[in-house]
C-alpha cells in the first residue's frame, strides 16, 4: 500500500484510464496548458496533447453540452467544472440532458460521461464559490452522483466512473486534495453505488461522505478517548444510494447521526434519516441527529465561515446527545 494524496489519486485514475482507452479525453476550463486550477491535470497536456486535454472557453453550457454530444456518439469525455458552483450555469445539461436523454428516447442514447466538479467550503471563497449542493444533484433519477472521502475511494471510484456507460457527477472537495491515504498497489476498481463501513464501532452509527468522513473520523478519535465507539458508514455514492450497510450498522447500534457539509434543510441527511425511519423504525432508540451547515450563504470572514460549517466538535456533541 502506498500513501498518496487525494490529488495524486485522482490524477492517477485519470492517467490510467487515458492510457487504457483512447476514447477518454478531458475537457474543461484551464485543464490543459494551466494544468488544472487544482493541479489535478498537471503534466497531462504535455503527455496527451491539446486534443485529449482540451481547454475550453469559460462557457459551462458549451462544455457540458459538447461533452454530452461527444458521449452520445461514442467518445468518453471527462468534463471538468472548475467548481460545482458553476454547475448552476449549466444546470440544463446536468438535469435536462444528461439525466434524461437515455430514458426520454427509449434507451436509444448512451452517455458514457463523467462530470468532475469541485465543491465545498472552507477556503474563504465567498458565498458563490463555497457551496456543497450535492443533494440537489442526487435528486435527479438518470444521473449518478459520486463523492469520495478517501484517496483509495477517489481513485477506484473515478476509474469505475470513467468506464461506466452512464452520466456520472463526480464531486471532489476543495479542501481535501492534500488529504493522504493508503491506496492499493496496481490497478483496482471500486464499484459505484456501494456504501462502506470506514470504521467499526458498536455505540452509534455516523453516516457521512466526502468531507464529512474526514471530520467524522477525527470526531470518532475524540469519542474513542471517552470510550465511545462510533461506527462510520461512508455513502461514497449519493445516487444510487446504498442503504444496506447503513441499516445493518443502525440495527446494531440503534443510534445514529448524519454528517454532511451541505445545508441541513432538504439535504442528504434528511434523506438518510427518512430512510432509516422508514426501513428500521423498530430499531430506533433515540432521535437521529443531523449535523450540517448552518442555513446561511457562506460568508468570507474566516471565523464566520467556520462557524457556519460543521466542525468536529459539532459531531462529537451530536454523538453524545444521541447517546443520552
Amino acid at each position: 500500500m502506498a500513501k498518496i494524496t487525494m490529488r495524486e489519486a485522482i490524477s492517477q485514475a485519470l492517467m490510467e484510464e487515458m492510457d487504457r482507452d483512447p476514447a477518454v479525453f478531458i475537457m474543461g476550463e484551464e485543464v490543459g496548458v494551466w494544468g488544472g486550477t487544482y493541479a489535478v491535470t498537471k503534466g497531462f497536456y504535455d503527455k496527451y496533447g491539446a486534443d485529449r486535454v482540451k481547454d475550453t472557453p469559460i462557457a459551462e453550457n458549451a462544455i457540458l453540452g459538447a461533452a454530452i454530444g461527444a458521449a452520445m456518439v461514442g467518445q468518453r469525455p471527462i468534463a471538468e467544472l472548475m467548481t460545482i458552483n458553476f454547475a448552476f450555469s449549466a444546470m440544463d445539461y446536468i438535469v435536462n440532458q444528461a439525466a434524461k436523454l437515455r430514458y426520454m428516447f427509449g434507451g436509444q442514447f448512451t452517455l458514457p460521461l463523467v462530470i468532475r466538479a469541485v465543491g465545498g467550503g472552507g477556503r474563504q471563497l465567498g458565498a458563490t464559490h463555497s457551496q456543497t449542493p450535492d443533494a440537489i444533484f442526487a435528486h435527479f433519477p438518470g444521473l449518478k452522483v459520486v463523492s469520495p472521502g478517501t484517496p483509495e475511494d477517489a481513485k477506484g471510484l473515478l476509474k469505475s466512473a470513467i468506464r461506466s456507460n452512464d452520466p456520472i457527477l463526480f464531486i471532489e472537495h476543495a479542501t481535501m486534495y492534500q488529504v493522504r491515504g493508503e491506496v492499493p498497489e496496481g490497478e483496482y476498481l471500486i464499484p459505484i453505488g456501494k456504501s462502506k463501513v470506514q470504521r467499526e464501532g458498536s455505540d452509534l452509527t455516523i453516516v457521512t461522505y466526502c468531507k464529512g468522513l474526514e471530520l467524522s473520523m477525527k470526531a470518532a478519535d475524540e469519542l474513542g478517548k471517552e470510550g465511545i465507539q462510533a461506527e462510520i458508514v461512508d455513502l461514497r455514492t449519493l445516487r444510487p444510494l446504498d442503504m444496506e450497510p447503513v441499516l445493518q450498522s443502525f440495527k446494531k447500534t440503534n443510534r445514529a447521526i448524519v454528517v454532511e457539509e451541505g445545508w441541513k434543510s432538504y439535504g442528504v441527511g434528511s434523506e438518510i434519516v427518512s430512510r432509516i425511519y422508514e426501513e428500521a423504525f423498530d430499531y430506533v432508540d433515540a432521535p437521529i441527529i443531523r449535523v450540517a451547515q448552518k442555513e446561511v450563504p457562506l460568508p468570507y470572514n474566516r471565523t464566520l465561515e467556520q462557524a457556519a460549517l460543521p466542525q468536529v466538535t459539532d459531531i462529537v456533541a451530536a454523538a453524545k446527545e444521541v447517546l443520552k
Binding site: 472557453p57 461527444a70 452520445m72 456518439v73 442514447f109
Partner: protein, 318 residues
C-alpha cells in the same frame, strides 16, 4: 436532380403534411397528449435540407420534429405510434411529440429546451472530430433559439474548434407568439453568425429546391473546410406555435398571404410546369401518402401501450 428524386421530395412533403393533419385530428380527439408543435408550412425546409445530406451526416433539431423525423427515414408508423405514446414508437412512448430520435437513422433527437440542443450538436461534431471523419452535424433550431445563451456558446465553440456543424435557423418569424423584431436585436438572424466570423447565407424556405441547393453548397463548405456554416431559412408555420395557440399575435391576412406561398403548392406547380410529372402522377403520390398515413394511424391505434414494468427501464445503461 433526377425525376425520381424530385418526386420523392414531393412525396416527403405531402407525407409530413398528412401525418400532421391526422395527428392534429387525433390530438383534438384526445388521443395525443402533451404539447404538439406542427411543422405544417415549413415542410420544404427539412425536406430540402435532409435530402442534401449523406446518410452519415447527423441531424438534430428542436421540438417541432415530426417532419425532420420523417425526412430522416423514420417511418410514419413509428412517428404516429410515438405521438400516441405507444410502445412501438421510436422512443417507446416515453418521449412523445417533442422527442423523436433514431440512432439508426442518424437523427439525434427532437429537443424540447429552446436552444438546449445546440451545444449538444457541437458535441456530436466534436465526437466526429475525435473520430477523424468528415461527418457533418446538421443542427436545426428556430429564430427564438438565437436569443438564448446556449446559441452563442455553441456557435463560438464550433468556430473556435473548427467543428463540422451546419447551423440551420428556421426563421418562421415568431418565437412562440413574439415576432422576431420584438425579441431579437437584429431581424436578419444570420448577422449573428458574423459575430463569430462564420460564413453564412439566407434562403427561401418555401422553395424546397432552393433549400436543397443552399444546403448542398453549405455542406460542401463544411465538409471541405472543416468549419461550421450558418444557414438562415425564411419560412412560416401555418398553424399555431403548438396545439391550442390562440394566435392573438398575428393577423389572419398575414397567415393567408404566406399560405399562398404554400411550399407544397409551389413545388406541385413546379413539377407540373417543368413537366416532371402529370396531375395524375401527383395524384398517385398523394394517394400513396393517404394510404400510408391511414395505415400508420391504424398501426398506432392498435399498438400496445408500454408495459407498466417499462416505467423503470432505460433510466441507466448499467
Amino acid at each position: 436532380m433526377k425525376k425520381e428524386q424530385l418526386l420523392d421530395l414531393y412525396y416527403q412533403m405531402v407525407l409530413i403534411r398528412r401525418v400532421e393533419e391526422r395527428g392534429a385530428e387525433l390530438y383534438q380527439a384526445g388521443k395525443i397528449g402533451g404539447f404538439m408543435h406542427l411543422y405544417i408550412g415549413q415542410e420544404a425546409v427539412s425536406t430540402g435540407l435532409i435530402a442534401a445530406r449523406e446518410p452519415r451526416d447527423r441531424v438534430i433539431t428542436a421540438y417541432r420534429d415530426h417532419g425532420v423525423a420523417l425526412n430522416c427515414g423514420i417511418s410514419a408508423n413509428e412517428v404516429m405510434a410515438e405521438l400516441l405514446g405507444k410502445a412501438t414508437g421510436m422512443s417507446k412512448g416515453k418521449g412523445g411529440s417533442m422527442h423523436m430520435a433514431s440512432v439508426e437513422k442518424n437523427m439525434w433527437g427532437g429537443h424540447a429546451i429552446v436552444g438546449g440542443h445546440l451545444p449538444v450538436a457541437a458535441g456530436l461534431a466534436l465526437g466526429d472530430q475525435y473520430a477523424k471523419n468528415d461527418n457533418i452535424t446538421i443542427c436545426m433550431f428556430g429564430d427564438g433559439a438565437t436569443n438564448i445563451g446556449y446559441f452563442h456558446e455553441a456557435l463560438n465553440l464550433s468556430k473556435t474548434w473548427g467543428l463540422r456543424v451546419l447551423w440551420v435557423c428556421e426563421n418562421n418569424q415568431y418565437g412562440m407568439g413574439t415576432a422576431v423584431s420584438r425579441a431579437s436585436a437584429v431581424d436578419e438572424i444570420r448577422q449573428k453568425a458574423e459575430g463569430y466570423g462564420m460564413k453564412n447565407a439566407e434562403v427561401n424556405g418555401m422553395d424546397v429546391l432552393a433549400v436543397y441547393e443552399a444546403a448542398k453548397e453549405s455542406m460542401d463548405f463544411v465538409r471541405k473546410e472543416g468549419q461550421p456554416y450558418f444557414l438562415e431559412v425564411d419560412t412560416y408555420r401555418f398553424r399555431g406555435h403548438s396545439m391550442g395557440d390562440p394566435e392573438r399575435y398575428r393577423k389572419a391576412e398575414e397567415v393567408k398571404q404566406w399560405q399562398e406561398n404554400d411550399p407544397i403548392g409551389i413545388f406541385n406547380k413546379y413539377l407540373l410546369d417543368k413537366k416532371v410529372t402529370t396531375r395524375k402522377g401527383l395524384d398517385e403520390i398523394e394517394a400513396r401518402v393517404e394510404e400510408e398515413v391511414q395505415k400508420a394511424v391504424e398501426f398506432a391505434e392498435t399498438s400496445p401501450e408500454p408495459a407498466l414494468e417499462d416505467l423503470f427501464k432505460d433510466i441507466y445503461a448499467e
